[in-house]
């Protein structure tokens, strides 16, 4: 029977008949989704489950509107728990954050971006607060810094001059333009890729030194990394500084946050447990040429 199904599916790939659909969906019939879209019948596989799981976050166009989140409960497409202690919790809507501060509006490239903070609000999807900023004719969400308030003006510029810029909190400059010793957050590893480090509430990194074309930053974990000096970074500490001082208070609050209780089974601790005092690992450097996909 499986041979019959296979031959039936592959028969639909014959060239003579479907010239329109051959242009549109060039994938083989093993993927049940696209084949069924063009009217061809085929058998189901798990490819449609894989696609459906993250369908809610696949949007081409940026929008300020919050998007409904599909919770996974720590389970993947097979249905098994991959990460424990995740599940339940209050419903959340995801606000698409723009981590690439240096995103020019189409038509206004190479000018410093000036934006006004419209509102600073709580984000259920992260520990930091987020800010809605508007500049030109577009609005976007960014991670708010410590003293950001509605009505502030923030600048983003990609210029690296000989003199270091006087860093104002909330502004975004390349690492090469900032004076040594500034507190920074939302650090890019490769220029243009978007901020990946130092985004949690209250965190900040320190710019340690600048060495011909690269800059060395100390992360909140005291690790040091070397990145190109054209990587964009925001000045200041991330908002919601007292996040680590909060007291959960009761088990129920953890459940509201979507954290399920841990397993009650007593397990003998191995070599991983306990405090370790050891020297810092060597400095990691990210200055090799980034891959093609990092630019998109």
């Amino acid at each position: 029977m499986s041979v019959n199904l296979l031959s039936f599916a592959l028969r639909s790939l014959s060239l003579g008949c479907r010239t329109v659909s051959s242009q549109i969906a060039s994938l083989p019939a093993a993927s049940g989704v696209s084949a069924a879209l063009t009217g061809r019948r085929s058998f189901t596989t798990s490819a449609c489950d894989l696609q459906n799981q993250s369908l809610w976050k696949q949007r081409d166009k940026y929008s300020v509107r919050p998007i409904g989140v599909k919770k996974t409960g720590g389970r993947d497409y097979t249905g098994r728990i991959i990460t424990h202690r995740i599940g339940g919790g209050h419903k959340q809507r995801y606000r698409t954050i723009d981590f690439q501060r240096l995103r020019y509006e189409p038509g206004k490239e190479e000018q410093p971006i000036v934006e006004k903070v419209v509102e600073v609000r709580y984000d259920p999807c992260r520990s930091a607060d987020i800010a809605l900023v508007a500049g030109g004719s577009r609005k976007r969400w960014i991670v708010a810094t410590e003293n950001m308030e509605a009505g502030d003006t923030i600048r983003t510029s990609s210029a690296i001059g000989r003199m270091a810029v006087l860093a104002k909190e909330g502004d975004s400059h390349p690492l090469g333009a900032l004076p040594v010793g500034t507190l920074v957050n939302n650090l890019e590893l490769y220029p243009g890729k978007g901020a990946q480090y130092i985004r949690a509430a209250g965190t900040c990194g320190v710019l340690l030194r600048k060495v011909n074309g690269t800059a060395i930053v100390q992360l909140p974990s005291k690790h040091q990394i070397q990145v190109l000096e054209t990587c964009m970074v925001t000045v200041g500490k991330v908002s919601n500084v007292d996040h680590n001082k909060r007291v959960i208070g009761k088990a129920g609050r953890n459940r509201w946050l979507g954290i399920r209780p841990s397993s009650g089974l007593w397990q003998r601790k191995g070599g991983w447990a306990g405090r370790k005092i050891r020297p810092l690992p060597p400095m990691k450097s990210f200055i090799n040429l980034p891959s093609v996909s990092a630019k998109s």
Partner: protein, 400 residues
């Protein structure tokens, strides 16, 4: 309605009927000078040879079930220059300031003096006005249904219709009120240039009261000329085109919404109802929407009368507007002095805005009792007679 040929029937029920995202086709790289060898000649798939590309088949006639619209660039109305459209769903970020910049106008708080005197004149009032208006409010809020809280969509339109009916009852003493008619669900279309950008106001606005005679001019020539010295407020770094629908496919339309031989050609008052569903507007943004639509109506009328050439009008056109959410009323009077909106200097238009006038405070079916103390009694409470006087004055303006 899922078009034919795009339903997922062979997958699981949770995907049934959904239109899933189309996967991007595999990228085929073309190398110049090298032709790929395809299995087209052999008429069957051969592993190792390239997939042939056949010319796309055109049906020849348009079938609605299998129609694929052309790309934006191929559409006949595509233009390189974008157009920013203000429609009934627009919710501008900067509110009234943005509306003022777009319509090149100057704001004056409060209603103009002529309307204020009309409101206070006792001869223009309905007999036992307060009682009849309170009856109308109670009718729409309390006595309409047996539910505890009738939905806003219901009582807002009911209240507005009842108030208009009351005002229309004054035709006995003011015969010119008979030369008016209400119209709803009409589509407005008007285009103008401002700076280097093209703007449009489009779509259905709300309830429009049309009349046979135009409204009298409110501001004298000196006031109009003095607006030429006032500067327009800009809000750097936000551009005035924010939140407007930007499109490259448009038609530069000028349409008042009515035919040329319509017997009631002059727009008198626009009634907007804000029910808070699509989208919920703050009072500032509701005023901005009112200003933009009154400006659109006035500009459409001016372009129909005097042509599309931008110029300073000798007889300014006045359009009024009332917006309500069932309790709060906002009044806007717009006087169009010039259609020359390209530059920022010169004579400007005038806008009088009177916002957040409550007609009553509470209209509850059940009293609000907290800790055995009655905070808000049942029935209508906190009635403000001045709001209805202003409403009536705006209605009578031009006929009294």
């Amino acid at each position: 309605m899922i078009p034919h040929g795009r339903r997922c029937l062979s997958t699981s029920s949770c995907l049934y009927g959904k239109i899933l995202l189309r996967k991007k086709p595999r990228v085929v790289h073309e190398i110049a000078g090298v032709e790929p060898i395809t299995y087209a000649d052999r008429m069957h798939f051969v592993p190792g040879l390239a997939r042939p590309k056949f010319p796309s088949w055109e049906r020849g006639w348009k079938e609605p079930n299998h129609y694929q619209s052309p790309k934006l660039e191929d559409m006949p109305l595509y233009k390189d220059k974008p157009c920013y459209i203000f429609n009934q769903r627009t919710n501008v970020l900067e509110g009234v300031r943005q509306a003022l910049w777009l319509s090149k106008s100057v704001l004056i708080k409060g209603l103009p003096a002529q309307i204020v005197t009309l409101a206070e004149d006792p001869a223009n009032q309905i007999e036992s006005q307060d009682e009849t208006v309170q009856n109308a409010i109670k009718n729409s809020r309390l006595w309409d249904t047996t539910e505890h809280r009738p939905p806003r969509e219901r009582f807002c339109s009911l209240l507005l219709n009842r108030l208009l009916h009351l005002c229309g009852g004054l035709q006995v003493s003011h015969p010119e009120l008979a030369k008016r008619i209400l119209a709803e669900k009409y589509s407005l279309a008007v285009t103008w240039r401002r700076g280097e950008d093209l703007f449009q106001v489009r779509g259905q606005n709300g309830l429009l009261l049309n009349s046979m005679t135009p409204l009298p001019v409110l501001a004298g020539q000196e006031q109009i000329q003095s607006t030429a010295d006032q500067a327009l407020e800009t809000f750097y770094p936000i551009a005035p085109t924010i939140d407007l629908q930007k499109t490259h496919v448009y038609l530069e339309n000028h349409d008042t919404g009515f035919r040329v031989d319509y017997p009631y050609p002059y727009a008198h008052t626009l009634f907007l109802m804000e029910m808070g569903n699509t989208p919920k507007l703050l009072p500032e943004q509701l005023c901005a929407k009112m200003v933009m639509f009154t400006f659109g109506n006035a500009l459409a009328r001016a372009q129909a009368l005097y042509g599309k050439e931008p110029s300073v009008l000798e007889k300014p056109i006045v359009v009024q507007s009332v917006a309500t959410n069932g309790r709060l009323f906002q009044f806007v009077v717009f006087q169009l002095n010039t259609t020359d909106l390209q530059s920022d200097s010169g004579v400007k238009n005038l806008v009088w805005v009177d916002e957040d006038q409550p007609l009553y405070e509470f209209a509850k079916v059940k009293p609000l009792i907290k800790k055995k103390v009655v905070q808000v009694p049942a029935g209508l409470s906190g009635y403000q007679p001045k709001t209805f006087q202003k409403f009536l004055a705006l209605y009578l303006h031009g006929a009294a």
